[in-house]
């Protein structure tokens, strides 16, 4: 794991203090947000990331976002939450509405990377999704937390109903694509590669 990914996974990222708009995001989106900010010259955007490992603990997301909004609301003109629902069961949406901050729409990052409309229409019920970040961090986010390193016999219990692994690629990275392909093989799933780029994330940040 790279040093930055390790930091994004467990600690997140602190804001630099510059910019009028604070993005409160999942650590799993940091690379993509920073790339979009640099490519578009969006210097008005500052970025704080919560630990990406909250992906595995959605119950921690809403309280952490609420605390971050409370801590920073007087320091920025606007705060935008770069989380989709992400397994919070509507609680994050409700908290954001109560705090008067906007968030990106969609059920999770797979959806907005693919484009929420396309994702809803795709009907890939038996697909397991990876993004660039999750492909890089598969062992830390999936394999080890599910105990598959210690108990590989549980693979079918977890993924027996899945048929394919869809790698939604934000970038063209041959090594990462090969890694995703190997993950699919390890899980016994058919590998599908879709180059999505940043999907709905670009338009959401353009309006933030």
């Amino acid at each position: 794991m790279s040093d930055l990914d390790a930091q994004l996974t467990d600690a997140g990222l602190q804001p630099s203090g510059g910019g009028k708009v604070l993005l409160l995001a999942c650590g799993a989106l940091a690379h993509e947000i920073l790339a979009l900010r640099a490519a578009n010259g969006w210097d008005h955007l500052d970025l704080q990331c919560l630990p990406a490992i909250y992906h595995n603990h959605p119950e921690r997301i809403t309280p952490a976002i609420s605390a971050a909004v409370a801590a920073h609301k007087d320091s920025y003109q606007r705060i935008f939450v770069v989380y989709a629902d992400c397994g919070t069961g509507g609680l994050l949406q409700a908290a954001c509405a109560e705090m008067g901050v906007e968030m990106i729409s969609g059920p999770h990052c797979y959806s907005f990377f693919m484009g929420n409309e396309a994702f809803a229409a795709a009907d890939d019920m038996t697909a397991f999704y990876l993004t660039d970040f999750l492909a890089r961090q598969f062992d830390a986010f999936v394999w080890r937390p599910l105990g598959l390193d210690r108990h590989p016999q549980l693979l079918d219990t977890y993924f027996g109903n899945y048929t394919s692994l869809i790698y939604l690629a934000q970038t063209d990275d041959a090594a990462l694509t090969e890694k995703a392909r190997q993950i699919a093989a390890r899980m016994g799933l058919t590998f599908i590669h879709r180059r999505t780029g940043y999907g709905d994330l670009t338009s959401a940040l353009a309006q933030a």
Partner: protein, 233 residues
């Protein structure tokens, strides 16, 4: 452990054997659980007693340690797999001996959702607690639920969902029960990772159950209420 230290289950008295089975269940040792069940049956234990005292007793400890953050999902699944091994031996025997049944539950994961780990755990624990369980599997449309409830003369409907996108389908099922004038005939329990108490109330379920142990206790409570209502009526 050396061969000298190996525990011979058949050499243990009943009390020590059940205690050892608790440990084996906790450690997910399926073959040892199957052996223990066979030994107790061979010693003349009623299948229902083996189920409740050895298996459910052991899984209750697993459930409590999961709730308290001592055990995690992989270990619970291994324990459940071991219990499943024991249950497979006991099920036909329980049917023969006419063990008591508290009520009947139809359970399934909702349409569009293929996740069944939680549902399977609930189904197994409900069976262990004396409920008859009809498992509809994954990806169930409203008609499938309703047909099964009627055909099985069920008391309880259990619905599971893991996805934010699929959990609203539970309301479709409950609304259809209401439209058909069937809602009051069934206890409706819902569960799944993104759900919460508020969601359960909002869609008109009788209860949200955060884990399998809570589902069993909730089902027992609601069945007792149902019987009390029937007695009063």
């Amino acid at each position: 452990m050396s061969d000298d230290d190996e525990i011979i289950l058949a050499d243990l008295n009943d009390e020590d054997l059940v205690a050892q089975m608790f440990d084996d269940l906790y450690d997910g040792m399926k073959e040892e659980i199957e052996e223990g069940v066979n030994i107790l049956i061979g010693r003349g234990w009623e299948p229902y007693r083996v189920l409740t005292e050895a298996l459910v007793g052991g899984m209750t400890i697993v459930g409590a340690d999961f709730r308290d953050g001592i055990l995690f999902v992989p270990e619970v699944l291994l324990a459940a797999n071991a219990m499943k091994g024991g249950m497979a031996i006991l099920k036909p025997l329980l049917a023969e001996t006419g063990a008591p049944t508290i009520g009947k539950m139809v359970i399934g994961t909702v349409k569009g959702d293929i996740h069944d780990i939680g549902k399977n755990l609930v189904g197994m624990m409900m069976e262990g607690a004396g409920f008859e369980v009809v498992d509809l599997g994954i990806n169930n449309a409203v008609d499938g639920y309703i047909d099964a409830l009627i055909a099985e003369k069920a008391d309880i409907l259990g619905m599971s969902a893991l996805l934010t996108t699929t959990m609203p389908y539970m309301k479709v099922v409950i609304d259809t029960l209401i439209e058909k004038g069937m809602r009051e005939d069934y206890i409706v329990l819902v569960g799944g990772a993104p759900l919460n108490e508020e969601f359960g109330k909002a869609i008109g379920a009788d209860a949200y159950c955060r884990d399998a142990a809570v589902a069993v206790e909730t089902a027992k409570t609601w069945m007792a209420r149902k019987h009390n209502r029937a007695s009063a009526g």
